[in-house]
């Protein structure tokens, strides 16, 4: 997998690149701000861009804006956004428009190599990934009339793991149940969220979107 890394803090960039190289990922370039990142993506057409949300000049949402542009202009490049803060709104705004090929993780999470690699692979294959801490907050935020409120504890757990980009096999392993059981929990979950079977639409992505819009 070919990846570019964008973060304005040099030491973080260096740490991230080192982790990625350890994981067997090919780092084809690094950038310290959004403009440099966009030039790099245009040049290298990487599989995934790993991008810090806050970059110069305002340190607000430059990374987010760049992510949007990348997804529009280079559909084959996925974007994994890293953030220092828990801000569900960021994730929501972003994923509402272009759910596929995007991920959003807390920066400190990526030092867990397994999570980083899984997120990169998911994003690269057009799925979406949302940080577990944000998913937990969204699930806690109960709104009346939301179908998420009708889910059983097991279905909520499954949805939460799904939002973190886990496959059925990984969910089964985590919950200590069989993969067949996970499949039937998913079927029930999709039914409750009113997501019809449709070969063209990724129901897992839609289920996560339902959660974000709750």
């Amino acid at each position: 997998m070919r990846v570019v890394v964008a973060d304005d803090v040099m030491i973080v960039r260096a740490g991230l690149i080192r982790l990625l190289i350890d994981a067997g990922v090919t780092v084809v370039g690094e950038a310290a701000d959004a403009d440099e990142l966009l030039r790099l993506v245009a040049l290298e057409k990487p599989d995934v861009a790993v991008v810090d949300i806050r970059m110069p000049p305002t340190h607000k949402d430059e990374g987010l804006v760049a992510a949007r542009l990348i997804r529009e202009r280079y559909p084959h490049t996925g974007v994994l956004l890293l953030s220092q803060y828990l801000a569900p709104r960021y994730a929501e705004r972003l994923l509402e428009d272009q759910p596929g090929g995007l991920g959003y993780l807390l920066k400190e999470r990526v030092s867990d190599l397994a999570i980083l690699i899984e997120a990169l692979e998911r994003v690269n294959s057009g799925q979406c990934v949302v940080d577990p801490a944000i998913v937990a907050r969204l699930l806690d935020r109960e709104r009346r009339g939301s179908p998420v409120g009708t889910l059983s504890p097991r279905e909520r757990e499954t949805l939460s793991l799904m939002a973190q980009g886990r496959s059925n096999a990984a969910i089964a392993h985590q919950l200590g149940i069989g993969e067949r059981t996970v499949e039937s929990v998913c079927a029930q979950l999709f039914r409750k969220l009113d997501l019809q079977p449709d070969p063209d639409v990724n129901r897992r992505v839609l289920a996560v979107l339902t959660l974000l819009r709750t």
Binding site: G15, D22, H59, K60, D61, Y85, L86, P88, E108, S111
Partner: protein, 242 residues
Amino acid sequence: MRLVLSGRAEPGQVLSSLAPAGLLALENARLNAVGLVRLAEVQGSQRRIVEATDLERRRIEHDLHDGAQQRLVAVAMHLSSARQRSLSGASDALIEGEAQIREALAALRRLAHDSLTAVLGAEGLEAGVEDLVAACPLRVEVQLALNAGPLPQPVQMAAYLTIAAGLDNVAAHARTDRAWVSVVQEAETLIVRVVDAGPSGAVVGRGLTAIADRVGALGGTFDLASDPQNGTTVTVRLRCGS
């Protein structure tokens, strides 16, 4: 003052009897004006103190973000990398080191008030309130009715901090797990309410006292009402016109 004049009173006499009262009224008006000027001066200096505090807070937050937090994140990454390469004996210590860094990062985030200026700056009050409520251990119902267009930053900050301190106060003292938050803009006034259904006898923590000072400095009002039937209500009114 009321004066009853009889038909036979001499105009001169009437005037001389009014003179002391008139002087008194003039003196009162003068003192009143002096008082208003002083009040405006005090409010101005209070406002400048709050602004200076906010500026300092942003500076500290920025330093934490660019300094300590980023360094810790980088160290965590290097430790993780070291653990991948290490022999099994060394990895226990490395795992412990990583766990401690995660805790340090969480503590730093709380210190920097989590997403305060990041979210308020980039996304406005609405998103800030949602984040606050999402992070709060209480069950909170929220009503938001804001006009289009951004609020002045000091007003946003005061409203956000009112809700933060109000919810903290409920969690610490109210012996209930339910609260209601409303932020309503009516013409030029922003009304912020935090209500709980706990037993009466609100304890006002230091957090809320600081809020009352901040709100006062912006020329707003702060009210706290508590009764056995309705729990405790904090109401803050802020002028949000230019």
